[in-house]
């Protein structure tokens, strides 16, 4: 094999993540590495924790970034809160609910599945029924924003129901955090995890998590040690400064923390409410364009994530051909369907820094052009005027 320097092409990232990373975050990422026990790095860790509390809308002291991708953030919540023999209600309405089931079972727990159609939100009544049928359940887990379908569930209501039945809650906010409201304290979420590469527009590889006092109590009173040493919050807590003295646990990904800090600063500067509004407005413009073209959303209006737009691929259109041409000719990445939706939908992300007007017009123009060129049944030329009308309003 011949080896050579890797110079990535410049893409416009409009898939389900990673989203576009702004230049100032990339610049922060590449600053000189310092030691993970350097007093200056400890200061940075404190700022990162505090900024994460802001973005997650929580005062939980146990709020920190796990040094691994979002899927490790999920595993972190499960291995700390589920013990062998525990019964966990898992609400599934897409790929990631299925992954939660895997996690429960690998913890030695029993997963009771509550199924909803892919593209629908989790049905609160079904959760209520499952909790009545399984009064011995101790944990309820669900995905707030299903990355595989673009559907958002009513986290506040689901947590309320779980608490009425004396269950802890584990919430997946990988795609929602900083794109739509996620209010950990107001909604009384017990454990939550997210990722950096979606609406935070940071590089992939880190998973913010937060645990409230109830969750922390359970972690501190387990019958068995968590099965993971790397993700054991009792140990990670020591490293991230819950005690008087910071204890070495693992070597933090120093440069990734520079980038996360910069990404969180950007959200703080914009203001969370403004970021939610921007995601909402830009979604309306993209939606107007896509619908004018003749494309159909697979999630009903009330449960649609503004940051992740899943549309049905028109009959007879070659999924891969369209995505390949968008990537090769226009340098735009959109997402394929996942799991049961493979080949059936496209997922168009407007997450974080990718949620910009220029991305919307660029994507609509390119998609319209490629589909028309392939002879797909679209209203050629209708998308941009429709989007511009919304943007001008």
């Amino acid at each position: 094999m011949t080896y050579n320097a890797f110079h990535p092409p410049v893409r416009t990232l409009m898939g389900p993540g990673p989203s576009d990373v702004p230049p100032r975050i990339l610049e922060a990422l590449g600053r000189p590495t310092i030691g993970h026990l350097d007093p200056r790095f400890i200061d940075l860790m404190d700022q990162v924790k505090s900024l994460l509390q802001y973005v997650m809308q929580t005062e939980n002291p146990l709020t920190m970034p796990v040094s691994a991708p979002g899927s490790a953030g999920m595993e972190c919540c499960f291995v700390n809160l589920v013990e062998p023999g525990d019964k966990v209600i898992v609400c599934q309405n897409g790929v990631f609910g299925g992954r939660m089931k895997e996690n429960v079972e690998r913890c030695g727990g029993e997963a009771v599945m509550v199924q909803d159609a892919w593209g629908s939100p989790v049905d609160p009544q079904k959760l209520e029924d499952a909790l009545k049928a399984h009064p011995d359940a101790g944990v309820v887990a669900f995905v707030h924003a299903e990355t595989s379908t673009g559907a958002q569930s009513d986290a506040k209501t689901l947590v309320e129901i779980a608490h009425r039945h004396d269950c802890l809650t584990i919430v997946d906010a990988v795609t929602s955090l900083a794109g739509t409201p996620v209010k950990v304290d107001e909604w009384h979420i017990d454990a939550i995890y997210s990722g950096t590469q979606k609406c935070l527009s940071c590089v992939p590889g880190i998973a913010p998590v937060s645990f409230n006092e109830r969750a922390q109590h359970k972690i501190g009173n387990r019958r068995h040690k968590p099965q993971s040493w790397f993700l054991d919050m009792n140990l990670v807590m020591g490293y991230w400064g819950q005690g008087a003295r910071r204890a070495y646990h693992h070597t933090a990904p120093v440069n990734a923390m520079y980038a996360l800090h910069e990404a969180l600063l950007m959200v703080h500067e914009e203001g969370l409410e403004n970021a939610w509004l921007r995601h909402r407005r830009n979604h309306e413009a993209l939606k107007a364009g896509l619908e004018a073209m003749g494309l159909r959303f697979i999630v009903d209006r009330d449960h649609r994530l503004p940051q992740l737009n899943a549309v049905a691929i028109p009959d007879g259109v070659d999924d891969a051909a369209v995505r390949t041409r968008l990537l090769q000719e226009h340098h735009i990445e959109i997402g394929a369907g996942l799991g049961d939706l493979a080949g059936k939908v496209w997922r168009i992300g407007l997450m974080g820094y990718s949620s910009r007007i220029e991305n919307i017009t660029q994507c609509l123009a390119a998609l319209d052009g490629v589909l028309a060129d392939l002879g797909a049944p679209v209203n050629h030329g209708a998308a941009l005027p429709a989007a511009e009308k919304v943007l001008a309003a």
Copy 2:
């Protein structure tokens, strides 16, 4: 809390890791993010795998970077190779052998500990005795290069002994890889893990691992699923292209892979043998300086890691005061003692890009100055001439 942009100080990193990251790796790290399923990224993954095979001296197809720090690399080897009820011989001669024990127990295995003094290598005879006493053991685990003490063990011999007793081997090469010879195929190591932030001089956060055919056979024929979903090699293999088609598993830390690729390229350009030689030569110079100053190594000459120099803190000298002055006045980071050696030793790293002549002279001059200023019993002024004599030879 007031938030502001984080501009790290420029340090000279001569602790136990992270080591200095060269500018060209930092520059690669900050290149534009692309999708983790982008065909160009897939090409990069193939190069990274092939370069890792070179650096690990192996043709194992199952050679790849785990998307998390070295301690997750350790956990990856254990959760895949140890099942509930398995007996594992763990050789401990420092902190990281103790962490291996934790891993075995969290996998539901039984750890049989073979203890050697901290600062000594693992004694092959003790391993042989333990294997005779425990014929039902299935795995032997040991640390090739103990980061907590600076001692190197004879990996080749230990693996031979383990194999004679029909055990698989798990080897920690976090601090040795690219600093001293690590020959996975020639030594028949079954499973090995390392980190990026030591002699590869890459940013921290990624753990290269490799499994040979015997290990892969065990992974493919487990009685139970590994307890970790994130680290399950059966799934990770699908993502890193062992099958015909790449299956989505998690989102790779894209930018960290740019940096790792660049770091591996640098080792390839220098040549592994040259890198080993450079680490050896620079160690000789540092050693001459430290010994001329009057400091004593805690590891005997034959088992000393050239890249990690552990010296006893002279009686009456304030450990923290010295390290703080080195950091604040000279911007040099050296390592404190860990575990049983806390307060007793300093660990001076010459790893990867930190293993440069200018670092040696800078460190010796600063340490000599600070110790003399604190009235420590050192031969003030003797260190630099001694080191220079070696460098001139």
